[in-house]
Amino acid sequence: MNNLIAASASAGVVLSLLAYWIGTVLKKKTGWSFMNPLLISILLVIVFLLVFHVSYDSYQASARYLSWFLTPATVSLAVPLYLQLERLKKNIKAILISIFAGSLASMGSVLALSMLFGFTHSQYVTFLPKSITTAIGMGVSEELGGFPAITAVVIVVTGIFGNIIGEGLCRALKVTDPVAVGLAIGTSAHAIGTAKAMELGETEGAMSSLAIVTAGIITVLLVNVFAMLY
């Protein structure tokens, strides 16, 4: 099996897509937030590799073509950001200051907890980009010398957690304005949280998707300073 998959130019891609498809079907059938297609597909592929004794390298030999698309896809995020330009201009101060505060809070709490747990520098920088979109967060983790694979999973689980608690937490904290709700969910739970924000309303969804990119960029700018602190 290992040799078969290593020799194939598409096996890793097909396996990944198949697992993702199963994930979307499960999500549709159950409607549960934690049935996140991405999380399901990651687990399915891992189980498959372990059960059939396929090495990660063999899988990666063809699956890496999927990862290749990540950079142009991240560049494409400029399009939704541009389409929200009017909304962005209208609330520019509130948007920038609250996302800035949220990004600082994210890295500040990771710093505090890492010190508390006595993490190594690599472990610390692995968690620093945990609230931003996987596309940017994994790159940050890699550049800073963290463990990108752990960062990826932590980011995805963060998104799912934010997706589940978003509505209730905002209500409990009396965060009622649709703009504020969208910013809160997008800054803390990136694209997976945004899926929830879009269910709540158009403004919430737009603000949340705007927050994904903005929080990503603000975090990239600040993360190098934070990386030097511990």
């Binding site: 990944s16 990540l70 399009v79 596309a135 999973v153 932590v154």
Partner: protein, 119 residues
Amino acid sequence: MKYLKQFGIILLVTGIGEIIRYFVPFPIPGSIYGLILMFTLLCTHVIRVEDIREAAVFLIEIMPVMFIPAAVGLIESWGELQPILVQTVIILVLTTVVVMAVTGKTAMFMIGKEKKNHE
């Protein structure tokens, strides 16, 4: 041909972003330079949004599957994660709540303030 052209434009800007990454000594992924460059080109109408829209939307839509290979790398990094699993869960839960609360509360404050200014 339309999609190929759209994808070509996105790849060109991506490539320029990677070249900038090569020459600028900051640990910032090349995709971020590309993203900012693309946003600037759209705002200055050098590139019209219609020139890349469909390809961009498609790439964003299928983005989740692009994360699978890297995340499956967890198999290789499991040794690093296992000893700090409990701490990871604590960080995950706490920081997500903190970030959501701080962002939401700050936004509420700012919006309230701006509304008062308009009155």
